[in-house]
């Protein structure tokens, strides 16, 4: 019996000490290799050059977080309605197909007697269920559709950064685009329409932060 106890202790003592030692070694390896691992699982797109100005540093975490704010705005009806996946614009806070089915046309300005500016005036028409207005009312052209509808954050970020898909915009032009008249118009949509889910100032800040902190695309 004592021999059996002794054998039991002997057989189980060694594995325990070995395990402890292995654990210590693993933790040490973990600390050493942590410094070589990416902090975030993000995808950096090289279409936009990161600014390495001494007052600037690339921060993938902050960039991705900023883009997720941008995404909320771009996928809201005020933006997405004119960035549909099809060739008919969307309409209303529920983004249904635009009544009367106006078509995109080659230049994004409609066709025949159904051109955008035939109904959409240079300014909002007063009253409910009247056309909102802007001097430059149009969809993206047929050869550069700039689709938002149905895009995941990863897909949209990459599309926005790719000059062959974003209207041939450089980084500087992307930055300036936040001040575009049609973009601004989303916050003055006319009676009966909701505004995007954050203020224009917050959106612009998020847009600039996303780009200036490295223009990282979320993983998903």
């Amino acid at each position: 019996m004592n021999q059996q106890k002794k054998n039991f202790r002997l057989n189980h003592y060694v594995p325990v000490r070995t395990i402890v030692v292995m654990l210590i070694i693993s933790v040490m390896i973990g600390f050493i290799t942590a410094g070589f691992k990416d902090k975030e699982s993000v995808v950096k797109d090289d279409s936009i050059t990161v600014n390495h100005d001494e007052h600037y540093y690339a921060d993938s975490t902050e960039s991705v977080a900023a883009f997720m704010q941008v995404y909320k705005v771009l996928m809201s009806p005020r933006c997405m309605n004119c960035h549909p996946s099809g060739d008919i614009p969307l309409q209303g806070d529920d983004s249904h197909l635009h009544t009367m089915s106006p078509q995109r046309g080659k230049d994004g300005k409609g066709v025949y007697a159904m051109k955008c500016a035939n109904c959409h005036q240079p300014e909002n028409t007063p009253g409910l269920h009247t056309p909102p207005g802007n001097p430059n009312w149009h969809l993206p052209a047929a050869d550069m559709k700039l689709v938002f509808q149905g895009r995941t954050p990863n897909e949209l970020a990459k599309q926005l950064l790719d000059p062959s898909q974003n209207g041939h915009k450089s980084k500087e032009q992307l930055v300036a685009h936040a001040s575009d008249g049609l973009v601004l118009g989303a916050w003055n949509p006319g009676e009966g329409r909701s505004v995007p889910p954050m203020s224009y100032d917050d959106f612009k800040k998020a847009w600039l932060t996303w780009i200036e902190k490295g223009a990282y695309a979320p993983q998903q």
């Binding site: 009544t99 009367m100 089915s101 106006p102 078509q103 066709v111 025949y112 007697a113 159904m114 051109k115 500016a117 035939n118 109904c119 005036q121 240079p122 028409t125 009253g127 269920h129 009247t130 056309p131």
Partner: protein
């Protein structure tokens, strides 16, 4: 005073620049062929041409039309002999007729830009003009007939 060029004639009107063209045309100029249908650009009965483009006069401010060329249904042709008007007469397209001023003005833009429209082209062009009487089949037939008349050069009434 606001000066307007309507159907190749100059008019002086004393109205608020925010007045919509529809009321200026009807009430100030007495051109009542253009109709009020909805007032919110959803029916097309008020369609006129502004520099040749079909606009909805119920939401278009008169200030937008200053210095531009306005054409109403009365000015679509000099002697009611536009191919569309001839075709409409031939097939007796209207029922009550209320929407047809707008139908003709929209169809005129289509035929100018596409002299040989398909049914799909007609759908795209005319989807914004609604007809409570349901004369859509005759409207489509009239557009095809007008296109044929234009091709054959048979546009004299």
């Amino acid at each position: 005073m606001i000066t307007l060029n309507v159907n190749q004639k100059k008019y002086e009107v004393d109205v608020d620049p925010n007045t919509t063209l529809l009321w200026v045309i009807r009430d100030e100029l007495g051109l009542t062929g253009t109709k009020f249908g909805c007032g919110v650009a959803q029916c097309g009965a008020c369609t006129i041409h502004l520099n040749g483009e079909a606009v909805r006069s119920c939401v278009t401010k008169v200030s937008r039309a200053v210095g531009q060329t306005i054409t109403t249904i009365e000015g679509l042709s000099k002697n009611n002999n536009h191919p569309l008007q001839l075709a409409w007469q031939e097939i007796d397209a209207p029922q009550c007729g209320y929407c047809h001023s707008g139908q003709l003005m929209s169809a005129a833009v289509l035929l100018r830009e596409n002299p040989n429209p398909t049914d799909e082209d007609i759908d795209s062009a005319m989807a914004g003009n609604i007809c409570r009487c349901g004369t859509y089949l005759r409207i489509r037939k009239g557009i095809h007939l007008a296109a044929e008349m234009q091709r054959k050069g048979n546009t004299k009434g």
